[in-house]
């Protein structure tokens, strides 16, 4: 972990300059005239959400569109206006949220290099996707509702990124889960969509449980949830390593695996493709799912103190990358292929974090946001062209019919495969190289990454060939190119996918690495072997080209081959096709819990044991009542008779000398004898 501690002090000196509480607009910036207005970044989309959410159905469509587009644009411009700020971090606090006893949580936002990069991606790509959605959703009844949810997502996502303490980050964290739930289930009348939304929320909740325990542990051990203060305490005590910090890191990692769809909680992401395609592009590819990577990078000062936790992060990342890529090979739904590809690429980012190459992870996050958003939007354009058909087996030969979509998507495919000089090449290469330099274990991780790169090229070109080449396999489709509101974002994203990688060229990831260095530490992958990096790059590109070649062989030259291979390896094929039966396995767990609840808890405990006890008590009372009731015959004379008998008994009792009913002085017999 060569990048571990030296940067913490620097980081601290920036973070600790907190503003006085309650000071609106007062950044820690020395330039007082800088109005950072960080609050505008989340609140502009929130305003859009409120207006479109409450009034949307009554407003004219152009106004809904205007409000929806203005919200991310305002955020983007505010972020951009702060991009060249000389004094990072800009911190603003808007008063206390929770303040009891020793628990103090502020609404504090912090803009530094890391959050700035994230925000540029979120609001920039977010804005493009909003523009795209105007065309994509124009015939949908829930037009205003869609945009209000999309704005709500941006509100929570920007909160997540800007949060100055862990709990505020958790607000954004759960909030994006909510937005994701609402958007996946946007077409709620489709049972599969409603199911997928629920599944996404619940699986994320499982991860959030880990995150929450991590927060409790931070609170118990550091007494604060502010990132800066935690980092300060760590920096002041260089001896704190491992132990409880490992536990905290593993809890946080568990949370991250939920949000970022890593093993073992990735199962919700493929189902999330039930949502509208722009949602898949924005939330389930470019931004929300990368929150886990962001979170680990943001709390890297903790992970740096626990080599074990870092190794776990790397192993989870590499395993997920490979695992998801194998499943991506056999999917036939165009969006599901991209979903598995997203899981796989997120695995790369985790791998980068696990080898402490945080800036490489963030770099890949950025380039991935460009080309994966582009892939989804282009896939959306294909689906749009095919009249809402998502099965690749029914596509083919679309190259001529929708040329703009074809060419932009080609750029994205080459980028994700990591072929020079497209964006994906630089970021993926940085990750693999950093892994390779991490000793023997690192070489295993590097090899896994390389195999994944081969598989990535294979399934991406498979998608490319099945969609755009060969003959059209569906007869009732009339493909047509999408409107320019959809193609415009495609072209911009294609340009970014082609040229976006060059910001990370040079030693230590070039300008990108230098910009992030104050937060994440410099990217310092260096080897004593000369030209090692060059050889590695050539090898990676060669592997990607090999994947392309295999795909070309199978899906262009001999389209009947895949079926033959699938038949000869039917066991393996079925295993992959059924996604390793993981969903079924989790399904058994859920069924077991439901069965346990119904048969043991409800029937046995609640019904038999507790209900039986209550029944026993009640029936004892009832039985004694039934016996005593026989006295209450309702017959006047029997009452009178009992009255008489009772009176006689009392009288007799009083008169008998040995009962001592009366005090001695009042006894009848004594008086009589006087």
């Amino acid at each position: 972990m060569n990048t571990a501690t030296p940067h913490i002090e620097h980081f601290l000196s920036l973070w600790l300059s907190q503003p006085e509480p309650g000071g609106f607009f007062v950044g820690s910036s020395s330039e007082k005239f800088t109005l950072a207005s960080l609050w505008l970044i989340p609140l502009a989309p929130f305003g859009g959400f409120l207006v479109n959410g409450i009034l949307g159905r009554k407003l004219p469509r152009w106004l809904v569109t205007l409000i929806a587009l203005l919200a991310p644009l305002v955020s983007f411009l505010v972020v951009l206006s702060n991009a060249t700020s000389p004094a990072f971090p800009l911190a603003e606090s808007y008063g206390q949220w929770i303040n009891i006893g020793t628990l103090h949580i502020d609404f504090s936002l912090v803009l530094d290099q890391l959050s700035l990069v994230m925000l540029l991606v979120i609001t920039g790509v977010g804005f493009l996707i909003h523009v795209y959605s105007v065309g994509y959703m124009q015939h949908d009844k829930g037009y205003a509702r869609f945009f209000s949810y999309l704005n709500l997502f941006l509100f929570f996502m920007t909160t997540l990124v800007l949060a100055g303490n862990v709990l505020l980050m958790f607000v954004g964290w759960e909030g994006v889960g909510l937005a994701s739930y609402l958007l996946i289930g946007f077409w709620f009348q489709k049972p599969s969509a409603a199911d997928a939304g629920k599944k996404a929320f619940v699986v994320n909740r499982v991860g959030d449980f880990g995150f929450l325990i991590g927060i409790f542990l931070l609170l118990a051990n550091f007494g604060t949830l502010t990132f800066g203060e935690i980092a300060a305490k760590l920096a002041a005590n260089p001896g704190w390593t491992g132990g409880v910090i490992t536990v905290i890191c593993l809890c946080l990692l568990f949370g991250a695996t939920g949000k970022s769809a890593q093993l073992p909680l990735y199962v919700w992401l493929p189902d999330a493709m039930e949502g509208p395609t722009p949602v898949s592009a924005l939330i389930h590819a470019a931004t929300m799912v990368t929150a886990g990577v962001y979170m680990i990078t943001r709390t890297h000062f903790l992970f740096d103190r626990s080599p074990f936790a870092l190794s776990v992060v790397a192993i989870v990342g590499a395993a997920t990358a490979l695992f998801a890529a194998t499943m991506g090979l056999v999917q036939n739904d165009i969006k599901r292929v991209l979903a598995y590809s997203t899981i796989s690429q997120l695995g790369y980012m985790f791998l980068a974090c696990g080898v402490a190459a945080y800036s490489a992870g963030i770099f890949h996050l950025v380039t991935h946001a460009f080309f994966k958003a582009l892939l989804f939007l282009a896939a959306g354009s294909v689906i749009h062209a095919m009249g809402d058909e998502q099965d690749m087996r029914k596509m083919g030969g679309l190259r001529k019919k929708i040329p703009v979509t074809f060419w932009t998507m080609t750029a994205a495919v080459i980028a994700i495969c990591g072929i020079y000089p497209f964006a994906g090449f630089f970021s993926k290469d940085a990750i693999l190289y950093a892994a390779f330099l991490q000793g023997t274990g690192g070489k295993v991780l590097w090899f896994v990454g390389l195999v994944t790169a081969l598989l990535t090229a294979l399934y991406m070109f498979r998608l490319w060939y099945m969609t755009f080449f060969g003959e059209m396999r569906s007869h009732d489709a009339h493909p047509h190119e999408s409107p320019w509101s959809m193609l415009g974002p495609l072209v911009i994203l294609a340009a970014l996918s082609i040229g976006g990688g060059f910001m990370g060229v040079g030693a230590g990831l070039g300008r990108f690495g230098a910009f992030l260095a104050p937060i994440t530490g410099a990217y310092t992958a260096e080897s004593s072997t000369p030209h090692l990096e060059l050889y590695m790059s050539i090898l990676a590109v060669a592997v990607a080209l090999l994947g392309w070649f295999i795909a070309d062989l199978f899906y262009r030259q001999r389209p009947q081959r895949p079926a033959q291979v699938a038949a000869s390896l039917s066991g393996l094929y079925n295993l992959l096709y059924h996604k390793y039966y993981v969903d079924e396995f989790y399904g058994v767990g859920v069924k077991a819990l439901l069965g346990f609840s119904r048969w043991f808890l409800e029937m046995f405990v609640d019904g038999a044991v507790l209900g039986g006890t209550a029944w026993l008590l009640a029936s004892t009372a009832k039985l004694s009542g039934a016996i005593l009731q026989r006295w209450q015959s309702g017959n006047l004379r029997s009452y009178a008779a009992w009255l008489a008998v009772g009176a006689a008994a009392v009288l007799l009792f009083a008169l008998l000398p040995w009962t001592n009913f009366w005090p001695a002085s009042m006894h009848f017999f004594q008086r009589a004898g006087r």
Binding site: I98, G101, E174, G175, Y181, R205, L212, V244, L610
Partner: protein, 515 residues
Amino acid sequence: MTAIDHSILTWILLVPLAGAIVVALLPDQGKLPNWIALLTALGTFALTLHLPAHFIANQGGFQFEINRLWITDPAISYHVGVDGLSLWLVVLTGLLAPIGVLASWNAIQTRRKVFYSLFLVQQTSMFGVFVALDLMLYYGFWELSLVPMAVLIAMYGRKEGPKAALKFFLFTFIPSAPLLVAILWLYARTHTFDFVTLQVLLNHSVFPAQAMFWVALAFLFAFAVKVPVFPLHGWIADTFAEAPVAMAMVVAGKLGLYSMLRFHVGLFPAQARAIAPLLMALAVIGVLYGACLALVQRDFFKLLAFGTVSHFSLVTLAIYGLTLTGWNGAVYQILSLGIVEAAMFVLLGALDVRFGTSQIAMYGGLAAKLPRTASYFVIAVLTMIGLPLLSGFVGEFVILSSTFTGASRSCAVLAALGTILSASYMLWLTQRLFYGPESTFAMSKPSADLRFGELAALTPLVLLMLIMGVAPSLWFKTIEKGVHPPQARNSMGLPPSVLLLPSVIVTEPNTEGQQ
């Protein structure tokens, strides 16, 4: 202090009672009882708002106090007052009164006069429980609160009203007999029913330990049934399924939990400390047990009942975690749950009135037909499952984090599992009611979206969920003073932030990280 401050609590107690009498005397024509009840409830709510407006936040102890000797021998006083603990509970009760009337507006079609006058009597009795500071007076209100509830469950039950009423009555009445005996025992020993005097006496004099054990247990038992704490929850499912929504929304939780905090932990700290581990274990079981049972319910009122058991068990955990931060969270969570439950009952009651069934399986795909209902329902569900920036999260987080850092890590972790389960059953319910294709049953019934009255009831609740989620300090400011029982600060010589529980590890920052 103005003149009104010296009599405001009496007014709060009397106005609903007067309204009840007026409703009872006037003829049962049309919506006349509804309007009188609504006006009375709104008036009472306005009166309760006087309390926070004139409450002095940074002053401990009871305010708006009235103390008059009522009966000389035995010495029963009319002693009422509020502190930070009960202040917002009184306001919550006041808020829920007009909402209860609005929720019953169309649901109650027959014998409106009986319903609304008993409803208003119930309000008086609940206010009484929260403000009474004389144990006999408190006991009177406590018993009184059970009667209109039982009668109305019996009268307006959906299917098996009398049976549910009997169950409710037996479960809640039997434990109050030992409570009365315990109160009388205390009187025999101390010659006072006064809460404040008793609190001092019990802390300064020595009473036989065994007798005190039983006395404290009698108090606890009566309260635990009302919360309800596992395994005493047998009444709640039937009561929720049968009771009119206006009654069901107030029956569980706040009365019992408040009484625990004030009269069990408050009067018997040593006994509470001794029994706390048991209560915490039961609370954790209750959180998980209630959630698991909610997963498999077929009737939405019963689902809500077991969800309620789960959520109120979390509050019990906070109370018997015996940390002051936890108590703040507990009171806050009682308020939050009171609001959420009310909203849920208004919404589910609206569905029940429109479609005539509470069987979940009959519903489906209502979101297209009833978009407003769906929106409000989703917000209420999100609050219930503790989504940040809504009120439920603040309470849950404060409770769980204080339990984790101050009382028991394992209990906190296990209880936090409940957050996963609550998301599961509430979202399942949402999906079954509102999403998917519209069910044939739902299509067969013509139905309108929320009426004006229902919107008027729900909108303030939803706004409160948001405000309480974003600005909890508005409430914590006053609650914080209230949950410092005097014995924690003075008699036992403990600083306010230290826990009552001696076995608790006050976490030294980073002890484990230093190895």
